[in-house]
Assembly symmetry: C2
Homo-oligomer: 340 residues x 2
Amino acid sequence: MSEPLLVRAARGESVERLPVWFMRQAGRFLPEYREVRSKHSFLEMCATPELALEVSLQPLRRFELDGSIIFSDIMTPLLACGVEMDFAPGPVIAKPIRTMADVQALEIPDEGHIGVPTVQAIRMLRQAVDPKVAVIGFAGAPLTLAAYLVEGRGGKDFSALRAFLYAEPEAAHLLFNKLAVLTGRYLRAQVAAGAQMVQLFDSWAGILSADTYRTFALPAVKKVWSMLESTHVSKVFFAQASAHLLPLVTSTEACVFGFDWRLSIDEVRAQVGPNMVLQGNLDPAMLRAPEPVLRAATRAMLKQTRGGPHIVNVGHGLQPETPIDSLHVVIDEVRSHVFF
Amino acid sequence: MSEPLLVRAARGESVERLPVWFMRQAGRFLPEYREVRSKHSFLEMCATPELALEVSLQPLRRFELDGSIIFSDIMTPLLACGVEMDFAPGPVIAKPIRTMADVQALEIPDEGHIGVPTVQAIRMLRQAVDPKVAVIGFAGAPLTLAAYLVEGRGGKDFSALRAFLYAEPEAAHLLFNKLAVLTGRYLRAQVAAGAQMVQLFDSWAGILSADTYRTFALPAVKKVWSMLESTHVSKVFFAQASAHLLPLVTSTEACVFGFDWRLSIDEVRAQVGPNMVLQGNLDPAMLRAPEPVLRAATRAMLKQTRGGPHIVNVGHGLQPETPIDSLHVVIDEVRSHVFF
């Protein structure tokens, strides 16, 4: 039997219609998610395969989606390295990394010992979903993990991370290298468990200049992808707020480049040419607009997908305030969209 | 006697050396600032002309600066509109603006009743500083004010503001128009009090797509500048994370375009041509690096100022962790820099 539409589309194969999934589709906008969440902490949900499976399946019961992304958090693989953290609600690191000694102390476990509950949940998810639906694994890109590890918590522009890169370049290189190995091993385990597509989230790509991104962040992303080469999994690189980094973030050797609502699909297409598979980029805030506005915005986005292979998604994770019907509107528009 | 170097440079006149000042030079990196702050709340400092004057003067006692920016906060003019807010430490709005009725209820006072303590502090500052030092006034750009007013507090990407723009375009237009009038009046009062240069901070420019920025944010900035036309003051427009908006943010009819560390000066210069005055863009996090690294980065930046008229600054406000000596290093490099 043939592979899921999303997987074939991610490879750039010619497909019967545009695939669609939503970042953070398993999340707080669903009452059934909030029901589970009311009984368990966020970390508990990530650490319990049955709970992660349940909330990953929830959106599939309501919507005709082409992908099922595993419920987890980009920070969870770091638990295996002994990093102490809490969610309040964003990640808070007990002991931020600031020195070479801190980086050296970070232990990177073997493949079988990273994000074990998430890997197990992926195995169960692959069994549970319709084979037409692609199972999507994910991880944080090394830069984005480093941003939290060094800053200690979320921020606007992670100035402590930037200061660390400038002041301690050797320690920074070692940190990015370790995080790349961690992420590569973690994603290999996800693929072995059944993930057919994996996405690297570089949510904080935009905080660095091109020079600094090229020096520290890009080689680490390429290293992650090189560790997955033998698996033939479809690789998606999602970089936020990266207009000033476009030549870099589109050269990571991923199969798919994902981006947010700040750039238009046409602009990105003009820069990358007709062959690269793109993913995005409806503003998740647009899903809070009245139906006619959302429908028009979705159509305008779909019009821009003519320039080359495309996977429809939001440009960033769905917001808790998203009305459920908004997903029906977008999916309806995508499924009824006629090429040319 | 001739006008201050900074004012002449901002007009694009040929000047004897590069001018330099630092965003948030009156701030937490100075122990004498923290001393004042330990005795007064942030809002109290903004509301008391003598205190605002004192902390504005503090950096001038230590450093050879070409400009003296008044100590205040972009949110303070909103106090005159009856907006209740607190700083915790970022602004928190008691009743966020979400509907047309909320926007209609926002009253914009006359010129003489907006930011009165700040305007008074500018009058005192102009008397107090060496006439070679330019007095700099400032305000938040309408988009950035709207972001806090609608979201209710600081955020990563102000999704409530974006949702408001999409769902309530008429209310949004009215809000931006009111904020432009408020800001125009406020800056006019600052100029009348002695500000020789004024900067509009569009710290959150980067959260919108070009289409949305063009529709809502840009006309409001142009309106502010048009209200200042008769004053002949030097106008600086600072837009953060705006690589995807460059043709828009460089077309506001300001005299000077300021930007952050994400873009290189060479890149921006290539886009705007040889005549526009640029301002920036050392990463404030770079001022936390060891002296040789900082010195090299400053020289690399100075090398890029060859393409056209330039005002040296950081690409974003100085961080509390900035060592005092770092400013001496940067100023030393700028003052000893030889053109060509």
